[in-house]
Subunit: 478 residues, 2 copies
């Protein structure tokens, strides 16, 4: 395929955002559709992004005292039904195993949609004394939720995630844990993915099934819709009572534990694409880019071998400071390669041709802002490291500016229309689910969260006008 | 629990090896039984061992040019049935999803028992030209096989593994890949797990369903039974024809690709336990030990705080050279702690008491050989690093000596009896499945492999006496 064709094949964002998204994820070879409806394959380029996200989260979980473990994929129906609110929330989405080998099973087994129940059953055995607490475990796993409408990375029948499950001695400790893990999600979204988020608590209608409080981070995509990027739940004693997680406290009393759970998933890759991508394709923040630097030799003509040798030496040198790849494919022109790697979102391109070899220079091209500059070959390592850091910061700044300029303080629901119902709407809320439900039905807009530290501004509920109990951020969401 | 009780609770190996194994995996908290029969939970201590195995294998896969990806858990029945020998081998073991949400599925979906079929379907799309080859992908995943008799880590209904799947231009390249990956398994078993293995090819009756050749590494457990610890398959064109994986070669001809697959699993943890464990519990090789060094302060009495402070400083210093843990639990005696960490297989214990503080020494106790020595506090980092290396080598040597002294060259099947049918029996084989089958029926002994480079010794087939075509290693296996 020629470069112009490749570019033409990506639908412009402004024309059809959904089609742009699908074009980008497929052409950049992040994923492909599987033979079963609703399932996808995560291809190596996409999976590498997930591994980089995993490495960062895993290090942070470990540093905060958590250990990894692995629990069974299949959950007996009776166990799934033990916590009433939980089963009501999840049962419409469950895939059931009913046959094993040649036999019908006496009890159907759920393919885990989430693991509070099976983990709760195990924790009831492991927790005996206050000395066993806190119990801090995380699991990296696949889960299945039978979804009607799916979209690559954002909503698929199977997805990869991590789920943390903890037990604590007191409600305060469990609340602190739930908040601490949300902080880790927020920091990771911002520092690794360059995706700014707003953190807060969910309204009752948007809570996780079985939770007392659900905390969330919400990001704004470049089409003005919100994406829930990670949630952390304070589960109170709902699951410890349902699963009998009790411990003998220091005071000699037997008590129920206080539990939390928290998770984030391959959905983060969707956020990355929709926050940073443009009409040329992906734009990846360096810290999460599988290839941070691509070296493209301009090696046609008689001096080709010499240039290629210089490009190889350059690549070897840059390996000390970055994830670098040399594109020495002889069958493509430099122009084709530029477009190809831009489409794949590689943050920095290094070009080297005969004139650079003579002058002792190389050309650095930034994917984020499209600038090119000539730098001395001698200082190239430092220049590359500095530019990568600059790209990381610039992408976060661009996203922050977009988010801030698309966050609208409003006093009445009708104010949303002027902005085409796109963006975050910050408005007072009376606290009644009826008002939230009415906005959802009228405009498909939901309360994304009640941001921490924000107070009602005094204009009254944007829906009913009555005195407000909270400040809420509302948006259409993925 | 008091130390003596803890020790008594492990059944001696000589009394009942199976019960010893179960006692060790549960008491060392490597695993626990799940609420569904045949499933297990991998607890943090066991999962950390798996992570260390993963890290080593993953680095070796990457260094040899492989990338990770992720394919769907559920496989349509029609896809699973596309390769005839494959479906025949696996269908008795498949768990089926027949319901999703509230609807019965039109076509049942298999929970993957292995992924050749779904990956083959995707490769047919991705492979077009010889330039797309070789295609070298690995997946870390869970799989489900409906087993009747299960045993922790060795055979469970669900297990964790990696499965590599590659496509090549020629049969020779694919064969070389299959052998290269087996080498990686062999090297990892020996250098990381200190488990010596014999590498060879499977006889036709023991091949992977759908393979042309199956290569294997086989280890000898300390009860004299063999364990298959990793397999690598040359699949010829069986799967590329079934799934239509074709490419346009440089000569302009359209050809079917040549494929391989290779896998190893959490079963390796079972090998580790059964090769190195003793009546006191686990003995972990340092390279795969979650805790390599435990520091135990002898801190009772008036000088307790001072000793504890010295133990803390020592721990911090040792963190630079090892995965170290300080056991400062006030509720247990040093003696209890010694037994507890020995049971968990920690390779090296460092004891520090008031006399050590005064003398500027510490005591090092090795788990592998049970020796204790006093070393100067000043050189403790170097001493610890050297002892860990010594433990790693000693465990490999012990396992090698055991394996070699339990490998019996024989000329007749009847010779096996003198050894209680335990150990590896190296004997000539005529190559007829009927002879292999007869030995299996009579003694539960199978051909584990035809080791690379071994030739018939001239005594004739150990079963029928006819001229031999191969040298085979036979054993009872897990």
């Amino acid at each position: 395929m020629q470069p112009e064709q490749a570019l033409k094949a990506i639908t412009p964002k402004a024309t059809d955002f959904s089609q742009w998204y699908v074009d980008v994820v497929r052409k950049a070879e992040l994923m492909d559709y599987a033979p079963v409806k609703g399932f996808m394959v995560i291809r190596p380029y996409g999976y590498r992004i997930w591994e980089l996200i995993q490495a960062e989260l895993d290090a942070r979980f470990r540093a905060s005292g958590h250990e990894n473990a692995y629990f069974p994929l299949l959950i007996p129906q009776s166990l799934l039904e033990r916590e009433a609110a939980h089963v009501q929330g999840f049962s419409p989405e469950v895939a059931w195993v009913t046959r094993g080998g040649s036999e019908e099973l006496a009890e159907p087994l759920a393919v885990r949609p989430t693991s509070e129940t099976i983990i709760g059953a195990m924790y009831a055995r492991w927790v005996q004394s206050y000395r066993d607490l806190p119990l801090l475990i995380n699991q990296w796993a696949n889960v299945v939720r039978w979804e009607k409408a799916t979209r690559p990375f954002l909503r698929t029948t199977e997805f990869l995630w991590q789920e943390g499950h903890t037990v604590h001695r007191t409600a305060e400790e469990a609340q602190a844990e739930a908040r601490r893990m949300l902080d880790i999600y927020r920091e990771t979204a911002e520092s690794l993915l360059a995706v700014p988020v707003v953190a807060g608590v969910k309204s009752a209608g948007e809570r996780f099934a079985g939770a007392v409080d659900t905390y969330t981070i919400e990001a704004l995509m470049s089409d003005g819709r919100a994406l829930q990027a990670g949630t952390s739940h304070f589960l109170g004693q709902n699951f410890s009572r349902a699963f009998d997680i009790r411990f003998l406290d220091e005071d000699g009393q037997e008590k129920f534990g206080w539990t939390t759970s928290w998770g984030t998933s391959t959905r983060l890759i969707g956020a990355l694409i929709m926050v940073h991508g443009d009409d040329r394709g992906l734009r990846l923040p360096p810290r999460v880019a599988p290839v941070q630097v691509v070296v493209v030799p301009i090696a046609a003509g008689p001096r080709g071998p010499e240039v290629l040798e210089a490009a190889r030496a350059l690549t070897r040198e840059l390996e000390a400071v970055a994830r670098v790849r040399l594109d020495d494919r002889p069958e493509y022109t430099p122009g084709y390669k530029y477009n190809d790697w831009e489409m794949r979102g590689v943050p920095l391109r290094v070009e080297i041709g005969p004139r650079d070899v003579d002058a002792g220079t190389v050309v650095l091209a930034r994917r984020d802002v499209g600038t090119k500059e000539t730098v001395p070959r001698a200082g190239v390592r430092e220049a590359v490291a500095a530019r990568l850091e600059a790209v990381q910061q610039e992408l976060l700044e661009q996203a922050r500016r977009f988010r801030d300029s698309h966050t609208y303080p409003i006093t009445r629901e009708a104010d949303m229309e002027a902005y085409g119902f796109r963006g975050f709407f910050a408005g007072d809320w009376c606290g009644e689910e009826a008002c939230a439900q009415a906005v959802k039905e009228r405009h498909g807009i939901t309360i994304r969260c009640l941001p921490f530290g924000e107070e009602p501004q005094g204009s009254g509920c944007i829906v009913c006008g009555r005195p407000a109990r909270a400040r809420a951020w509302w948006a259409r969401a993925y």
